[in-house]
């Protein structure tokens, strides 16, 4: 919320923390970095998340995966829609926060609107992408055979620096609507939107651990996220000034054959859901 007070009341400042396993802990490392506005005013002491924070988040995500991956598509769709509702209710807060972090007001309003619309878009896909990407296969033997997508598992997400809110939403919505759970490193340039988004998720009936948000720096956490042996896939939102990231991610991912997605844009479409799905084929004999 805006720190500018228009009365003589002293404002209550928010402590920006991490969002792990449905709770808002400080980083276990006790470290922070200062986020400043364009005019040099300090906006927040932001948690500088550590490798241990990432590992804790992966544990939470793995635990949450067991239930979230087996929820009905209908329920997942309703919960994502609920996230959109909660964000809609907090339009002003998110707009102000983006403005404080340096986004012009018009662009901030548009970014929040697009974020809400993205959530609605993917909420609607929940019970449709399996229909588009499944098949009953006409095998040349007396078997019933079908293929359908299943979530890959725990997905680490290196969210885009900018736009910080829309980029985050575009990255995590296709991951979680498909039944995966996520460990996300939010933008370090504009970390406040990502962290506040945790509050939206927390009030949306999204089970604990399905999305875990960590603030901090890519240089420090990229290897931990890409090499963790209990992570099944990694989404790297590429930054133009960090051309080495994709090789780092691909190299670290080899040991347990993580699925690697490198996005150069934040377009929204159902193929982005499928990047974090596995096709399972099941056979059964047909006969009396």
């Amino acid at each position: 919320m805006s720190r500018q007070e228009n009365s003589d009341r002293l404002g209550v400042l928010k402590t920006y923390k991490l969002y792990i396993d449905g709770k808002f802990p400080r980083t276990e490392s006790g470290r922070y970095f200062k986020l400043k506005a364009a005019d040099g005013k300090i906006l927040a002491n932001v948690c500088q998340g550590s490798r241990k924070d990432v590992r804790d988040a992966v544990t939470a995500a793995r635990t949450a995966f067991a239930k979230w991956s087996r929820q009905t598509a209908y329920l997942r769709g309703q919960i994502l829609y609920r996230v959109a509702e909660m964000l809609e209710g907090r339009r002003l807060q998110f707009t102000e926060e983006l403005v404080e972090q340096g986004v012009t007001r018009d662009k901030a309003i548009a970014e929040v609107s697009e974020s809400i619309d993205t959530l609605v878009y993917y909420a609607g896909w929940s019970d449709k992408y399996p229909q588009i990407f499944s098949a009953v296969n006409p095998v040349a033997s007396s078997h019933f055979n079908f293929s359908m997508p299943e979530p890959t598992g725990v997905v680490c997400v290196l969210a885009p620096e900018l736009p910080s809110l829309l980029g985050l939403v575009r990255a995590i919505a296709p991951v979680i609507i498909g039944g995966n759970t996520a460990v996300v490193l939010v933008s370090s340039k504009q970390p406040l939107s990502g962290i506040t988004f945790g509050e939206v998720l927390h009030t949306s009936d999204l089970p604990s651990g399905v999305v875990n948000l960590v603030s901090g720096f890519r240089d420090e956490l990229i290897k931990t996220m890409a090499s963790h042996m209990d992570v099944n896939a990694i989404l790297l939102c590429a930054e133009k000034d960090r051309v080495g990231d994709s090789v780092v991610v691909q190299e670290q991912a080899i040991e347990n054959l993580k699925r690697v997605s490198v996005w150069k844009d934040i377009e929204a479409n159902p193929y982005r859901i499928m990047e974090f799905q596995e096709i399972k084929t099941t056979w059964h004999p047909v006969g009396a």
């Binding site: 087996r70 588009i132 098949a135 296969n137 006409p138 095998v139 040349a140 033997s141 078997h143 055979n145 293929s147 299943e150 890959t152 099944n232 090789v247 691909q250 190299e251 080899i254 040991e255 347990n256 054959l257 699925r259 479409n269 193929y271 596995e278 096709i279 399972k280 084929t281 099941t282 056979w283 059964h284 004999p285």
Partner: protein, 504 residues
């Protein structure tokens, strides 16, 4: 089927043997009368060059290596060994034909070439089956009924996709990638070549394929078929050699796509070799697939499924049901019936139509299997092997079961790729699923129960790309195949099998 007892012909009369009292001990008490597949009509050249730009050519190094029949260790032919120079020629030929011919051809015409290839393969099916069995050691019965018909069917299936690709990707326009480098294993040589080549060509890519060094012959026969079908030169190039040749191929700068089937270890190496490039990759790697037998299963059918799951193709199957998980209440009866059934397995000459289990593909693989059996015994497993007699020449392994194993045993965690089954028991459904998923692999799984709801529940909990319920080891061109976790990435077969070869 004729049987003879102690070298005496039974004359085809019905045998009366009290099962479970006196099990049929084949190889000792009983033997089938030989029924050898003829090979007179099959011509194998004394030596084969590299198939580059539509012609068989001498390798740059002039080096050749032997390909042998693993059932008798006799040399079948001499095979060219490709080096970096040859790899470069093959990739350049593929690039030229991609730029000038194949990518410009309509899908309809591409499809007609693939249909032609499928039909010629069917015409030459018996020849291909015989060569496959001679070169690889698999039973002729399997080459004839599984490998060759499925390989032809795969071409026929993807032929039909070539002019219909826009229907496969809703809202998208697919385009080919360019030159595909494909490296395939020795367990299903021609079938793997078909799995790789057919979808690549249907989507408009050109190919450089490297078959395994122990089983190059059917891929070279396939090259003859490409010539016969008038496939434009360079659309498919087949280069033979060892691991070094494959490494040169996948890391060649002119390659846009890498597709590999083989071990997880080599798959990771290939992944490393292409780091920092824009090459797309598909990997079909190892497995340690669980085969779950529940107490409410049809036990006799399940036993047949277990046998087919692990002994099909000598267990040289990436999706082999190599970990048997039996519900405790039926463990005893399942094992007794399994051991009885295993005694009837005919192990021996792959060219004999009676043979169930043929030769192990290579001396190296035989040693690896023996090493694993020894490791299992050292770690405390109980060993059961059938009483069959093994031929004196060639490479062989007896059908083997290792019971009383723990989840941590190497034989439970690692892929053996031979006729070796481990047995564990479980009490609850949850325990069975937990054990099934407890390896780094995720290729396939089997479920046996007569309860439908349990099938859907268990199969959806298995973290594996293919689940066979009340059946096992079934394959079809329309049916996607591929692994979760460290069993690989990407799918082959079906509509999903197109995706690895296109961009949007």
């Amino acid at each position: 089927m004729a049987l003879k007892k102690k070298k005496t012909l039974s004359g085809g009369s019905v045998l009366k043997v009290k099962a479970s009292v006196a099990p049929l001990n084949f190889g000792t008490q009983w033997q089938y009368v030989e029924a050898l597949e003829g090979s007179d009509h099959v011509k194998i050249e004394p030596k084969y060059g590299l198939f580059i730009d539509g012609k068989f050519v001498e390798p740059h190094s002039k080096k050749y290596f032997d390909t042998i029949n693993p059932a008798n260790e006799k040399v079948l032919s001499k095979i060219a060994e490709a080096d970096a120079h040859d790899v470069n020629l093959a990739v350049e030929a593929a690039r030229r034909s991609y730029d000038n011919v194949w990518s410009k051809m309509s899908g309809k015409e591409r499809g007609k070439y693939l249909f032609r290839i499928a039909r010629i393969m069917q015409e030459r099916a018996r020849e291909l089956a015989v060569v496959e069995t001679l070169d690889g050691g698999k039973p002729i019965r399997e080459s004839k009924s599984v490998d060759i018909p499925l390989a032809a069917a795969h071409f026929f299936y993807y032929a039909g996709w070539a002019d219909k690709l826009e229907y496969a990707f809703s809202g998208r326009s697919p385009r080919p990638l360019g030159v595909a480098a494909q490296v395939i294993p020795w367990n299903f040589p021609l079938l793997m070549a078909a799995w790789k080549i057919a979808p690549a060509l249907a989507t408009g890519n050109t190919v450089v394929l490297k078959p395994a060094e122990t089983t190059p012959l059917t891929a070279l026969k396939l090259a003859e078929i490409f010539q016969e079908a008038d496939l434009p030169p360079g659309v498919v190039n087949i280069i033979t050699g060892f691991g070094a040749t494959g490494a040169e191929l996948v890391s060649h700068k002119g390659v846009n796509k890498v597709a590999f089937t083989g071990s997880t270890e080599v798959g990771k190496k290939i992944n490393r070799a292409i780091l920092g490039t824009d090459k797309r990759i598909t990997l079909e790697l190892g497995g340690k697939s669980a085969h779950l037998i529940f107490e409410d299963a049809s036990i006799d059918q399940a036993v047949e499924g277990i046998v087919n799951g692990i002994f099909f193709n000598q267990g040289h199957v990436c999706c082999a049901g190599s970990r048997l998980l039996v519900q405790e209440s039926v463990e005893k009866i399942v094992l007794r019936k399994l051991f009885d059934r295993m005694q009837t397995l005919a192990v021996g000459d792959p060219m004999d139509k009676n043979t169930d289990i043929g030769a192990i593909n290579s001396h190296e693989q035989m040693k690896k299997i023996e090493g694993y059996i020894a490791s299992g015994k050292t770690e405390g497993a109980k060993l059961f092997q059938t009483s069959c007699r093994l031929p004196s020449k060639g490479f062989w392994a007896k059908p083997t079961v290792l019971s009383e194993v723990a989840q941590s045993f190497r034989v439970v965690q690692e892929e053996i790729f031979g006729p070796v089954l481990t047995v564990q028991s479980f009490r609850t459904v949850e325990e069975g699923i937990e054990k099934a998923n407890n390896t780094p692999y995720g290729l396939a799984g089997g479920v046996w129960t007569d309860k439908g709801s349990k099938i859907f529940s268990v199969s959806s909990h298995l973290r594996a790309g293919v689940v066979w319920a009340n059946t096992y080891n079934k394959f079809d061109p329309t049916s996607p195949f591929g692994g979760y976790k460290e069993s690989g990435m990407g799918r082959e077969g079906g509509i999903s099998g197109l995706l690895p070869y296109v961009q949007f």
